[in-house]
Amino acid sequence: MNSETTHDDHHHGAPKGLTRWLFTTNHKDIGSLYLWFSFIMLLLGGTYAMGIRAELMQPGIQYFDPETFNMLTTMHGLIMVFGAIMPAFVGLANWLIPMMIGAPDMALPRMNNWSFWILPVAATMLLIASPAFGWTFYAPLSTEYSGGIAFFVFAVHLLGFSSIMGSINIIATILNMRAPGMTLMKMPLFVWTWLITAFLLIAVMPVLAGAVTMMLTDHYFGTAFFKAAGGGDPVLFQHVFWFFGHPEVYIMILPAFGIVSHIIPTFSRKKLFGYTSMVYATASIAFLSFIVWAHHMFTVGMPVAGELFFMYATMLIAVPTGVKVFNWVSTMWRGAMTFETPMLFSIAFVFLFTLGGFSGLMLAITTADFQYHDTYFVVAHFHYVLVTGSLFTIIAAAYYWLPKWTGNMYNEGLGKWHFWLSTISVNVTFFPMHFTGLAGMPRRYADYPLQFADFNFISSIGAFVFGLSQLLFLYIVIACIRSKKAEDKATDQVWEGAEGLEWEIPSPAPYHTFATPPEIK
């Protein structure tokens, strides 16, 4: 289909030039902006990671002095969490939610523009700040023992504004703009998981803002929220931070659950098993995520009753998470599977995220956690859930919906190369970290005793390959967007087993869709 004529069916086509992007209120444009921004941040955060792995490849200090090394680990974490993963999911939400619920756009398009354009400003401020106190910025290291923190604090504030505005927009869109007949329990799972995620964001971003504000006044205005000598409490900081921080990890994984719940049924050619239980499991995880935060703080010293409570609550999360994994496996069971790139990434997700879930369950066991805590075992754990968890589903989603966005199929052969390179190298990188951690290597170490040398060397090799593999992804995406070949043209349904409103509109999706709401059967 000729896209120009489609545009003419509606009000107008896409404007030209830079102002199109600067002033856009179109959910697809804003979605693209978010996705490109997050990809740039992924490469930037990845560059920091390469620096870390280069330094740790051999014992001794070769490239970065310890302070710079601390800056690298800090910035790597902050950029990946706030710059790459979260904006990528918001970008997907922008592109997909209106198309999935049959809405013409997001409910609050101007705010949508604003919530995106705040991000590059926040990222710039973060880069100017370049703190070295760890992405968890524990007081008093961050408040009393670090230089200028104002840029860091305001960067976090801006990121918070952006997230909260994005979430309000998503909630308003989902609750008000669904096509007639689309009841809540008919909503696609990506929409459901994002609805719940948006509530999580609104609940915890203000808590983070509170933490950094107290940090700011402690540093510049003589307050003592976290300063023991002034009657404050450094442990309070950790409680506040992790009250934000634990829901935050679910903010980064719930939309991933949604994505996988779209892709696996498509390529299994079979309906998702247990839709209702998926919704309830997501809601249960979201609820539990608010009452487990102190499992990050077992070594801080807590009453036994407190430790037991947080241990039990944390273990409980395994139940709804297990339900999800079982549902995905049952969806595949007796399907008719094919293994295109999005499916490969989703299958890898189910395996490797579950692996991260297992180490998470082990970390919940408080007595053992005293040994695991702050070692590379934890580093391995959260990279399994965040890289092979969140990042893998973002990549899977990109491959899955790319034909809808661009109108062209990507190069499947290269996609498979990308998959195998990424999956092998990611395991070469992070699997040995379980061992380095168990053997006793603390995290955030610029240099380490010799017995950790072998595994660190392997991790570094894996990391370099993983990092470079993502450039292949960039090439595949650009080639797909720019392809003019007729044989690359995507059909409307794109995938044989794909179901949902977004597959009923043309490929590429016209600039404006669903000006009149579709019929929901």
């Binding site: 290291l141 023992y145 450094p234 299994s268 247990g274 297990g322 079982f326 599977m337 072998d454």
Partner: protein, 387 residues
């Protein structure tokens, strides 16, 4: 456990720099990580560490069992249920029975895990009935140990045994200057003065901090506890075997977080008694002569452990905060001001009044006569007068 296979990979990669250490890396390793095993917790030497190890193994094997079932089903499905085999997809997509089942079964498994974890945790956190107490203070970037009470320890302040434990300065220097570290024994996990404790004694550790949060961790003791400003945390250890046990700081505490290791020497109770008496009478203290050469020699060591973190190895200072001592007016000026500065501190400059007269004389003399500085020698008697 051998890493031969890994070494072959490396050899094949032909990275000569790595070849240098691959041969020695594992040969000289301290028992810190147990009998060469680098893929599991080190061998426990306390009941706590054994509990942690058991809990770790128990949860690990339960996870393995679950993984075998879930991944087994999935892998079978990935082979059997593929379109290329000409299967037609089934249409089922709901079953309340199985949903309930796979909610309840994991719950039961978790209850089993939780029960044994609860028992172990209560035992772990019981710090009562201790026979002696050691106060551990975390500082940027070293530990201070103080024997508070116990069978052999008087409660009075007088004669209290208290000392600092810094990383072996040679290790830190080798690390920061990118020297060949592969031949260094116990690289980065060696200190100038280890903590000495008796075996078969229930020891309570009280943890505090004077600046940021640190975390005192000895893997073989199964003990990791944060030292937090404003708090006194406690944990305990009952060491069963004599030996030297090593650990590291586990909470990011600033620039030299990786350079504040912990070394604990566990000795027989008789030997401990002897050591303790010697410490109390000051016999453990290093004697420093009063000649310029002796002061300079001792001063160099003290400077490296206590001052170089801020003023840097060559006295060149760091940024705007930490002044250079090289060519510094106060350092090249009258001795009294210099002594007072080090004794009393100022702003971010800590006070060092807990050092002995001889030690202070040594480090001050060293500063006054290094890096091109030329000023008077300071004798212990001068320091005594200035106190």
């Amino acid at each position: 456990m051998s890493f031969k296979s890994l070494k072959t990979i490396k050899d094949k990669l032909g990275l000569t720099a790595l070849l240098v250490f691959s041969g020695s890396a594992l040969a000289d390793v301290d028992p810190y990580v147990g009998n060469g095993a680098t893929y599991d917790f080190p061998d426990p030497v306390t009941p706590l560490a054994r509990t942690a190890l058991n809990q770790h193994h128990e949860s690990f094997w339960i996870c393995v069992a679950i993984a075998v079932v879930v991944f087994g089903v999935m892998i079978y499905s990935l082979f059997a249920h593929r379109k290329s085999r000409g299967v037609t997809p089934a249409t089922f997509h709901e079953s309340t029975t199985v949903e309930v089942l796979w909610t309840i079964v994991p719950f039961v498994i978790l209850a089993v895990m939780g029960a044994s974890a609860t028992k172990s945790l209560i035992e772990y956190e019981d710090t009562s009935g201790s026979e002696m107490t050691i106060k551990v203070t975390g500082k940027q970037w070293y530990w201070v140990y103080e024997y508070v009470d116990g069978k052999n320890t008087p409660l009075s302040k007088k004669g209290k045994v208290r000392f600092e434990s810094h990383i072996n300065a040679d290790h830190k220097k080798a690390s920061l200057n990118n020297l060949d570290v592969t031949k260094i024994k116990n690289y980065l996990v060696d200190v100038d003065k280890p903590l000495v404790i008796p075996i078969k004694t229930r020891i309570r550790f009280l943890l505090k901090s004077d600046d940021v949060i640190h975390s005192w961790w000895v893997p073989k003791f199964g003990v990791k506890k944060d030292s937090i400003p404003g708090y006194v945390n406690s944990t305990w250890a009952y060491v069963e075997k004599e030996g030297t046990y090593r650990g590291q700081c586990a909470e990011l505490c600033g620039t030299y977080h990786a350079y504040m290791p912990i070394v604990v020497k566990a000795v027989s109770q008789a030997e401990y008694g002897k050591w303790y008496t010697a410490q109390k009478s000051g016999a453990g203290k290093v004697k420093i002569g009063t000649s310029k050469a002796a002061l300079m020699k001792a001063g160099e060591k003290i400077y490296a452990t206590k001052c170089a973190a801020c003023h840097q190895a060559e006295g060149q200072g760091l940024g705007k905060t930490f002044p250079a001592l090289k060519g510094n007016a106060m350092v090249n000026g009258p001795a009294l001001e210099h002594i007072t500065m080090v004794l009393k501190g100022k702003g971010a400059m800590p006070k060092f009044d807990d050092m002995s007269d001889a030690e202070l004389a040594a480090v001050i003399t060293y500063e006054r006569n290094s890096w091109g500085n030329k000023a008077s020698v300071v004798k212990p008697a001068d320091v005594k007068k200035a106190r």
